[in-house]
């Protein structure tokens, strides 16, 4: 692989990592509030469809983006009803949500397969795109990529420097303490589910409005599951989520470019790499701490809040 390919490769890593980054941050937000939601794949694909249909109908990709967030949050709301009010098993409910979301999107989306919608086009950021190397890698993308750059630092500030962030963390760590402090942990968890779902929807929208301007069934192709895995890999930290998403996107972009530059390595092996890497990263991050990964997880993650008294 020639050196001249490295810059386009890294730029491609950022782009193919972006939908995963949105979904990872969304799931992280939900899990930080103590709710495990395995429905990411289903919410993401519903978001992708809502974005596509809205952009096609209104001609505005921004409205499409908004619709994607709302649709995914709405689907996520089902999870909230089941887990926060009926105290259903979070794992089972999340799985059902994925199957439901994928099925719903297939059912509603099939007539639109192969059609086009207006989407986000890449543009160069003034000044910043002129920076050698870095400019080419980071600042020649579309608006959604730039938006995703802002999120991890904002999330960090939110969780570590603001009161609502602290309250949300309390709902995930020790809901009884939050309750004793006069907060409503169920309401906080609702906030976590809906806001997280909104972000997951943006990840879906990225696929149908920016990465391509097309709709197809099963558009997410497992990216939602990768996001769930990356939350663990990232130890529930937004900065590491960014690293993980770009790493996954980078390996996917790398294997295609390796093929294009003419390699003898069998393509089946190369195609396996991103997934093998995800498994490896998870195993390593689990081994590394034993303590670290489990202590990094919100203490009350996946544990329903029983009514008191």
């Amino acid at each position: 692989m020639e050196a001249a390919l490295i810059v386009p490769l890294l730029a491609a890593a950022v782009q193919s990592g972006t939908p995963i980054l949105f979904a990872t941050l969304g799931e992280m937000f939900t899990e930080r509030a103590g709710v495990l939601n395995l429905g990411v794949e289903g919410m993401m694909v519903v978001g992708a469809l809502a974005a596509f249909l809205t952009a096609q109908a209104t001609g505005s990709p921004w409205l499409g983006l908004l619709a994607a967030g709302c649709a995914a949050a709405l689907v996520g709301g089902l999870h909230g009803v089941v887990c926060l009010h009926f105290l259903g098993n979070q794992t089972v409910s999340g799985l059902a949500l994925t199957i439901f979301g994928v099925g719903l999107a297939n059912y509603l989306g099939t007539p639109f397969i192969g059609q086009r919608a207006p989407g986000f086009e890449p543009f160069d950021v003034p000044v910043l795109s002129a920076i050698p190397l870095l400019g080419d890698i980071l600042f020649r993308h579309d608006a959604l990529v730039y938006l995703s750059f802002l999120l991890p630092p904002l999330f960090w500030l939110f969780w570590h420097r603001t009161r609502p962030g602290l309250a949300l963390t309390a709902a995930g760590e020790y809901p009884r303490a939050a309750s004793a402090a006069g907060l409503n942990p169920v309401a906080l968890r609702w906030a976590g589910i809906l806001a997280g779902g909104f972000l997951v929807g943006l990840g879906g929208a990225y696929l149908s409005l920016a990465y391509t301007h097309l709709w197809t069934n099963g558009m997410t192709a497992g990216r939602g599951w990768i996001a769930v895995a990356l939350v663990i890999f990232a130890f529930w930290r937004p900065g590491r989520a960014m690293f993980g998403a770009y790493l996954f996107g980078g390996v996917m972009a790398f294997q295609l470019r390796l093929q294009a530059s003419g390699t003898d390595v069998p393509s089946s092996f190369l195609l396996m790499l991103p997934y093998a890497l995800t498994v490896l990263a998870l195993v390593l991050s689990a081994l590394r701490g034993r303590g670290a990964s489990s202590s990094a997880a919100p203490a009350a993650l996946g544990v329903n809040i029983e009514p008191e008294g």
Binding site: A12, G114, G218, W225, M252, A260, G262, T263, D264
Partner: protein
């Protein structure tokens, strides 16, 4: 320890979206003349309607597709022909789309057979064994299987010589490329796809002997994001025309965004990349299906293996984009006429493989059985068939 449990769970679930993605089986039926609920929904009707061939009733022709018909791709190309057949007098058609290959396919075929369909067209390779099994139980029904090789007394194996049209599209690509590097986003390394890549490369080399074809396998038929990324990776290594053996127009978008040219597939993909789309090797099943249905109804159809091509009009070239100069058009259309007239055959020797070994002797033409089992790339293709 929660982390471990989650990991174990995630690994188990990685396969789940695959199952869930199998999607909906949707069926469309014209309002049937009789009052019977005539849905072709595979799971809907456990009871077998008695086979009926009463006089004065429309002959029923069934179609089974592996993907949705709205995809502007493979299944769409068959459905265009179905709609023409629907207009034939005394014929009514129905179809089931998104039928997974395997046990579901057998159920759908069996259901149609029990309802007294006259002919059933199954248009995916993986339906072959299911169809063969059902065909043995219903000797009076004509079973038509596309892209396989098994035939029987009432079963036809048919496919199209798409490689002939791909050769022509390779000539266009070779003539329009400045770098001589052509990119090819390809689905799976199976003989059908490999044959198409080889024909494309030979066509390009007929115009520019130094032309090389770079291949990237995506191992997907329809994943716009990944297929677009594959095309981008080909553009990054200097390719300036992108061809594809994929069902999604993702690669077309990539070519248009970078301001280079592209060759579509299946149907005219101009709408997806008007500035890039040079032409496309396309399917036109209408003449073949019309002829088959007429003969099946007349009782004169001979079941055998059939492989129609440019001459029969089953494959063709989409209209040229306006950027294709007249001399290139004339050259390609002249070659098309030669193929139609049987004066020229693609894979006429000498043809060499990647290592330079002569695979087709001088002046000889590769036999159909070699083409059907092709697992090697011709010289000038960069990539691996593994």
């Amino acid at each position: 320890m929660r982390g471990f449990r989650l990991i174990a769970l995630l690994l188990c679930l990685a396969a789940l979206p695959l199952l869930a993605a199998c999607g909906e089986d949707k069926a469309e039926n014209k309002p049937a003349p009789q009052a019977a609920p005539a849905q072709a929904e595979p799971a809907a009707e456990p009871q077998a309607a008695p086979a009926q061939g009463a006089q004065g009733e429309d002959a029923k022709i069934g179609f089974i597709y592996v993907s949705p018909t709205g995809d502007a791709g493979w299944s769409y190309s068959h459905d265009v022909a179905r709609k023409v057949i629907e207009e034939m007098p005394g014929v009514t058609t129905s179809f089931v789309e998104s039928v997974p290959e395997g046990p579901d396919a057998e159920r759908v075929i069996l259901n149609m057979a029990r309802k007294g369909f006259k002919a059933i067209f199954a248009t995916s390779y993986g339906y072959m064994d299911s169809m063969e099994k059902v065909a043995k139980e219903f000797p009076e029904i004509a079973f038509m299987h596309c892209s396989g090789y098994k035939t029987g007394p009432n079963m036809t194996a048919y496919f199209g010589r798409m490689y002939e049209a791909r050769y022509l599209s390779g000539m266009v690509a070779g003539a329009m490329s400045k770098t001589g590097k052509l990119g090819y986003a390809a689905a799976f390394p199976i003989p059908e796809v490999i044959r198409g890549i080889n024909a494309f490369a030979l066509g390009a080399q007929a115009v520019n002997p130094a032309a090389e074809v770079r291949v990237v396998w995506t191992k997907t038929w329809y994943d716009p994001a990944k297929e677009k990324e594959a095309a981008k990776s080909l553009l990054d290594v200097g390719c300036d025309v992108i061809a594809q053996h994929q069902d999604s127009p993702g690669p077309q978008e990539a070519a248009q965004e970078r301001g280079v040219y592209s060759i579509g597939y299946h149907t005219d993909m101009t709408a997806f990349a008007p500035k890039a789309h040079l032409t496309a090797p396309i399917w036109n099943w209408t003449p073949f299906y019309k002829d088959a249905v007429e003969k099946i109804l007349a009782g004169t159809w001979q079941h055998q293996a059939l492989w129609p091509g440019l001459a029969e009009g089953t494959v063709d070239l989409a209209p040229f984009g306006e950027m294709v100069p007249q001399d290139v058009r004339d050259m390609v259309l002249a070659k098309k006429q030669e193929i139609v007239d049987g004066k020229y055959k693609v894979f006429t020797g000498p043809v060499f493989d990647q290592a330079g070994k002569q695979m087709v002797p001088d002046e000889q033409v590769a036999e159909d059985k070699d083409l059907l089992g092709m697992t090697w790339f011709v010289k000038g293709v960069v990539g691996t068939t593994e």
